[in-house]
């Protein structure tokens, strides 16, 4: 059994069916991406996993225990960075740990240094660039005690170049702190570059359409995106996503 098991989760808001029988797993230390078009229900899936929303049907298991509707079991990085504007970088980074006890300040200091943010420890979020805010939010989720991290399109608001930097930065951090990660994105290349496995969702309602194992070895390099294997993969995934669109237009 995997670390995280999402078992046949179904959710509708009123008449609008958003998640339909979604099942997926994340193994210990694995990086899994969920790929789906905007508005397909990816954030809703995270909210169900995090216990914010009760599913109409289905269950969530973490480390073999049922945690459906239970809050505080995952470390979560929302689509907006959700940094607290009145907290400095230092106090923002500690927040996730603070909620569950005493934060490890040594680890925090080291991580801030590694992210190149030492000079900004006392800065407020509004003084940071978009990429820096995402780094702070990511450090916050790394310092949280939960063993599974859920990242909801963390880089979608960044420009193309910053995004590539951030993706490689994320991988370099993850290389040394191999937590289980569930990553949501609507960007095919991003999913391929980062993940061990990619789960493709269909649109409206979201159901698991296909699953791809990414064959590239780690550490990943950006040149991998230019290989034939990658192009072939991209084509396949693109086709799956396209089919998903077709179904809704018929």
């Amino acid at each position: 059994m995997g670390k995280l098991v999402v078992d046949a989760v179904t959710k509708a808001f009123g008449k609008q069916s958003v998640l339909k029988n979604v099942s997926l797993t994340v193994d210990e230390g694995e990086f899994v991406s969920v790929l789906g078009p905007s508005g397909s229900g990816k954030s809703t899936l995270f909210h169900v996993i995090g216990g914010l929303i009760e599913p109409d049907d289905g269950h969530i298991y973490l480390d073999g225990l049922q945690v459906t509707g239970q809050k505080g079991v995952i470390s979560y990085m929302p689509q907006s960075h959700a940094l607290f504007p009145w907290r400095t970088v230092w106090h923002n980074v500690l927040l996730g740990a603070e909620i569950h006890g005493t934060p490890d300040e040594t680890a925090a200091r080291a991580m801030i240094a590694k992210a190149g943010l030492s000079e900004y420890e006392q800065a407020y979020p509004h003084e940071l660039s978009g990429g820096m805010k995402q780094r702070v939010a990511f450090i916050r989720s790394l310092l949280s005690p939960q063993s599974l991290i859920c990242l909801d399109e963390p880089f979608s608001a960044l420009d193309e170049l910053t995004r590539l930097d951030m993706q490689l930065w994320l991988l370099s951090i993850w290389q040394t702190d191999r937590r289980s990660i569930l990553f949501v994105t609507h960007n095919i290349e991003e999913a391929i570059l980062l993940s061990d496995r990619v789960v493709v969702l269909s649109d409206k309602p979201a159901a698991v359409k296909a699953e791809f194992t990414i064959p590239f070895e780690r550490p990943r390099r950006r040149e991998m995106l230019l290989t034939d294997t990658c192009l072939a993969l991209k084509k396949q995934i693109y086709k799956e996503l396209g089919d998903a669109d077709d179904q809704t237009t018929h």
């Binding site: 909210h47 995952i74 929302p78 504007p85 009145w86 909620i99 509004h126 949280s144």
Partner: protein, 253 residues
């Protein structure tokens, strides 16, 4: 800071021109001083009369600050209670709004009947005028908490207590300060009204004495004092706000 000084230049000039016209008019038409004293005369009374009104001012200041602190504390407490118990909020909040249609000045005689002429009815008047802006703005601040931040806290497993003290409370600070600024100016007015009810000392007393003896220049001095105190109090709150709410500049990016 420089910008706000520059903004003060134009209205400042208008004010000086108005005062000048007033001075010239009262000389040209020889208006009697008991009816409308000239600005220069008022200024002179103000500058030389400190011995007459100094103790009144300090008494009013004390009364204002005490009443303000009481009203603010109760206001924050009530806002917190109403926010944390939604059913209470639904029941009480409309009544709170309704109660604001009762002018304080008509309550004053009642307060005197119930509590006499001591400190208590005066403090109640000031606390009442301070209470409302604080309560309403704090409640708004608690409620206007960003949805994403709330989701983050909930998913992170925050307790209701952590949700309040780590998120809703700091989020309400800018709102509370706008409430404090309104309360600060109201509180001086409240103090003067409460002194009219009957007191030994205070700007309100000074004012009543001046008007009953037709020392209209002193009435104007009292008005100027009330204005200056209000401004001073307001400025003090702004100063504290600058220190406490350092993150405010961005206002959601």
């Amino acid at each position: 800071m420089l910008g706000s000084w520059q903004k003060a230049v134009k209205p400042g000039i208008v004010l000086i021109v108005l005062l000048l016209l007033w001075e010239l008019a009262s000389r040209a038409f020889a208006i009697p001083a008991w009816l409308l004293p000239a600005p220069l005369q008022i200024i002179e009374t103000g500058l030389t009369g400190w011995a007459d009104y100094g103790h009144h001012v300090s008494s009013t200041v004390q009364l204002t600050i005490t009443g303000f602190l009481i009203g603010t504390t109760i206001g924050l407490g009530v806002a917190t209670g109403l926010h944390l118990i939604p059913s209470l909020r639904e029941a009480v909040y409309p009544l709170l709004i309704l109660s604001q249609n009762i002018p304080i000045i008509v309550l004053a005689p009642l307060l005197v009947i119930w509590f006499g002429f001591g400190m208590l009815p005066k403090l109640i008047v000031i606390a009442l005028v301070c209470f409302f802006p604080i309560t309403v703005s704090a409640l708004e601040g608690f409620r206007e908490t960003d949805r994403d931040l709330k989701h983050y806290m909930a998913m992170a497993g925050a307790t209701k207590r952590q949700m309040f003290f780590k998120l809703e409370w700091p989020n309400a600070w800018p709102y509370i300060f706008s409430g404090l600024k309104i309360s600060a100016t109201y509180s001086v007015m409240g103090a003067v009204i409460s002194e009219w009810l009957g007191a030994q000392k205070g700007i309100g007393v000074y004012m009543t004495l001046a008007s009953s003896s037709f020392r209209t220049d002193r009435v104007f001095v009292a008005i100027a004092l009330v204005m200056m105190l209000s401004l001073l109090f307001f400025g003090l709150i702004v100063l504290i706000e600058k220190h406490v709410v350092k993150w405010k500049r961005e206002e959601r990016d």
